[in-house]
Assembly symmetry: C2
Homo-oligomer: 571 residues x 2
């Protein structure tokens, strides 16, 4: 029993470990929502499964089900549908009690059993990718395709990456060694030394409202693989994708004959939040947090636990020169529009020399560049169906207020944000990007994060100054990505070095179908830990260490016993 899931998925694990060693392209879960891959009726089945949940209590497992007798839930899709799903709501004390009981069992399991369960959970989540896509779409407001990829296979790949890193860290050395030391010309002393993974205990994973699975699967999987029970805490307005995940985890864990409370759902309401109580609880040993910087800083300074954070920042594009002007403006326009700038990797500030830039179309003035990007945005959003798919919805109405605020500060608006109509969902909350221009010297709003479809084109005296300001901003308020355009190898190298040192993942000269917003599991490191945007990198070695420790015992062995131990160790 104990290794059944491990054996079933061992090849996936081996491939993932190989991918980590190579950093090249790898994906275990197909990102194309094709019927050939996912089945002829996958789309319809997924949609039906989503619809079947609407207006009902979410059916968590029974009997001996999830703690919490109350039910809460007021999710309304940014596309205008009232989800009207309720979830079991347990208090922090009920959750901690259940987690502590479950932890006693989970910590006794061995590495292969736990890793096998993780891989089976990921495989079953993959099978539900269409249902998950609808759930993510109607909570985060993403377009369908993004919801499918980001909440489905891409999140699963990130989860697998965390499992593989955890496996590598836990198995760096063997569980048993015979230590044999010569103490004189003829004498030896020997100790049999046994090592085992000791989990920290209880992990809390706090989800954000925009990427509820992509940003939680790494922490969830790293916790489970290393023997920690895991409480998933969704944003009160984006619960469904997390609840489906918890349900799947509990299903697999139950099938393995273990306590389903090894994974728990912590649901609260906007009116009565409990994230602070949970994350500062002395029972919690590990906190993974994704979300805004203010709350993230609170968690970092108040939690007694090991804390892994991914917070916000101000991402920059630095334009120096380009050999494909149209390719650049199209690429930037897509990055600005994709999910209405609500990705933590989306650019906010575009630095352009006042004196203009050299391009394949000759010299372009600052205004030419600005207008080129505005034109590309307008072109991209010209088709209503495409606009609806690319922009998705604005997840939170506070973002709409933020757009209005920034439109009226007196800064120059070169492209106004407009409310758009989604052809399929009349009540969808859709807004096109607001684009402003400022001079770099102004003490402008661009120096702070403006979450949502809001961006600045910033006139600078030189590319050198652009880099300097972008790097300083990254160091001061954080940055996750940076995009640089230059035809000079020297400028590119210097700018790239400065921005990498400032902790941004740098993309250079993107003019085709690859975007600065995208990061790929196994190859791209998400969040560097080098600036205020967070201390956790998806998924490096450090993402899994400190979630567990190696406990050790040792005992003298005689030579005969030593031979036995060695024979045993080599099995």
């Amino acid at each position: 029993m104990s290794r059944q899931f491990f054996d079933k998925h061992e090849q996936t694990l081996t491939s993932a470990i190989d991918a980590i060693a190579k950093r090249g392209f790898f994906s275990a879960y197909p990102e194309v929502p094709s019927r050939k891959i996912y089945g002829d009726t996958a789309m319809e089945d997924g949609q039906a499964a989503f619809k079947a949940r609407l207006g009902k209590p979410f059916a968590m497992d029974n009997p001996g089900g999830h703690p919490g007798s109350d039910r809460v839930g007021k999710e309304v899709s940014p596309y205008g549908i009232d989800l009207a799903i309720t979830y079991p709501s347990a208090s922090p004390i009920e959750l901690m009690n259940a987690a502590e009981r479950a932890s006693e069992q989970w910590r006794q399991t061995d590495i292969d059993q736990r890793v096998g369960i993780c891989l089976e959970i990921l495989a079953r989540l993959n099978q539900q990718s269409f249902a998950m896509a609808f759930a993510a779409m109607h909570t985060t407001g993403q377009g369908f395709m993004m919801a499918f990829q980001a909440a489905g296979p891409h999140a699963q790949d990130r989860g697998l990456e965390a499992v593989a890193q955890a496996y590598l860290a836990m198995t760096q050395a063997p569980p048993m060694a015979v230590w044999r030391k010569q103490v004189s010309k003829t004498d030896f002393v020997s100790l049999a030394k046994h090592y085992r993974v000791v989990p920290k205990g209880i992990g809390l994973v706090i989800a954000c409202s925009t990427f509820p699975t992509w940003n939680t699967y790494p922490g969830l999987m790293a916790n489970l693989a290393t023997g920690n029970v895991c409480i998933l805490k969704p944003h009160p307005e984006v619960i469904l994708p997390v609840a489906m995940t918890v349900q799947t985890c509990r299903e697999v864990i139950s099938e393995a004959g273990l306590d389903p409370n090894i994974v728990l759902l912590a649901v609260d309401t906007v009116e009565e939040p409990m994230t602070k109580a949970l994350s500062s609880s002395p029972e919690v040993d590990i906190v993974d947090y994704t979300g805004n910087s203010e709350f993230g800083n609170w968690v970092e300074s108040h939690a007694k636990a090991e804390v892994f954070t991914e917070k916000a920042g101000v991402n920059s594009i630095i334009i120096d020169s380009v050999d494909d002007f149209r390719g650049m403006t199209s690429n930037i326009a897509f990055s600005l529009c994709l999910y209405s700038g609500q990705m933590c990797t989306a650019p906010q500030n575009i630095f352009i020399p006042k004196s203009g830039i050299e391009t394949n179309d000759g010299h372009k003035s600052f205004d030419d560049v600005v207008q080129g990007i505005v034109k590309a945005v307008n072109g991209l959003l010209g088709d209503p169906d495409r606009a609806a798919e690319v922009l998705g919805c604005v997840q939170n109405s506070a973002t709409v207020d933020r757009i209005a605020m920034h439109a009226s500060t007196g800064e120059t608006v070169v492209r106004a944000s407009e409310q758009l109509t989604n052809p399929k969902f009349a009540d969808a909350r859709v807004y096109s990007p607001l684009i402003l221009t400022v001079d770099v010297g102004e003490d402008g709003h661009y120096r702070h994060e403006a979450f949502g479809p809001i961006c600045w084109m910033i006139a600078t005296p030189s590319t050198q100054k652009s880099v300097e300001v972008a790097a300083d901003l990254a160091k001061d308020v954080g940055a996750i990505t940076c995009s640089i355009y230059s035809q000079s190898d020297e400028v590119l190298a210097d700018a790239s070095d400065a921005m990498v040192d400032a902790g941004a993942l740098v993309s250079c000269n993107l003019t085709g179908p690859l975007y600065v917003n995208q990061t790929a599991a196994f190859s791209d490191l998400h969040v560097s830990g080098l600036n205020p945007s967070g201390n956790a990198t998806l998924c490096d070695v450090g993402f899994v260490t400190r979630r567990f420790r190696i406990g050790q015992s040792r005992m003298p062995v005689t030579e005969i016993a030593e031979q036995k131990e060695q024979a045993h160790a080599s099995v």
Copy 2:
């Protein structure tokens, strides 16, 4: 130039990496102070080198020497010799300025260059092992043999282990990858991705007064290998071994054509300490701390940096039954006496069932066991030369006061601590162990750390109760080691599991020449991170992660360029 030291020591690194993978016995630096290994005149040369430093300003490198125009230093050997050495004393601001300048250069070096420099430093420290032994002996008060091993080869092995772990973590994946993704039946897109180690910046390593090199080489080497400059902050009464280390680092770094301020010495005085100012300085990115729990807790809560701590705890021996009573009492006696109980791994509390234990000599009552250990202590200390070598000196006079305090609390003294005379050093501060008995139910002093040669024999209703109390103490106040004696496999397994879960490194049935106090590099994990005794383990993967991050940049490549990149990557 840049790889010269790396090539010279590559075999040592390879062996260390192999040792980490196997956890068996490995030592790169011979622990036997033999003339055959270290040279015919090694002992005399080491002693002469030590004596030559006495009464003089410590000659740090010149010109362009170490920051700080003042000189301080008031070391007096616990053996009674006034060292009268003065050291350059720089202010925190002078140190930070020098460290920041040096950091600009050090962060530009590559992994092999830095690792090579680390290995050369260790090799040169190894050559000075005799001089270091005298320096450690006359500051920490250790006996000569322990000073040689712990301050010399054993510290060097721990340093090498940290270098190897850092190398593994930095080179887990290649510095370059071509990421090639199929986007349609015929089309691919490719990105060349480059990765590089980005150090955190400035590391501070705070040494303790008892093991100034063993406990600092791991942090020093982990910092240097990962590209961080390092400020070593010795205890104001135990400076010389740290100053010699800094001098050696600066010598090697200078020979490599780099700024010697990549390693700095921060000397203060008991009257005007600067450890708090240094460790809470915003310029400091990493703090390694070894020492008492009170100060360690302060550092953990006040430093803005990544903090790695090794603090104190209460180590237990649990006696259930034994098949070699005399072997056990001798073994325990040695552990209690070795360096006068001033090792962080030394036992303090010995739990014994009230009803006595079964042994190869038949049933022994609680008092029999107590008297057996007392007799073994008296036997071990009966020979003045052996007593002097095993006990060493009490490092700090506050420990003498602590012995007196615990002798007069009203608890039963079964063995009084006596002031002893060292045959060679008339003024040496030598005290034999104080041994007390208490009932486990008393709210006794045994529940807190009593640093020095002070121990309790604790009467318990059962072994189960012994384990319960020892485990609770470990969880509440910390524990680094635990020794268990039982002839029942079941009792041994249960007790061992409980104590490993409580974060102690467990040793079972030690009756021969191996002691609970000893931990071996590459095989024994020192400090588990599972209880209040500290959060850093020497040397697991987590000891090196978070000292650096991986920075990344990526750029589209055409197929031809891709082939070139791949050819380059495979070189």
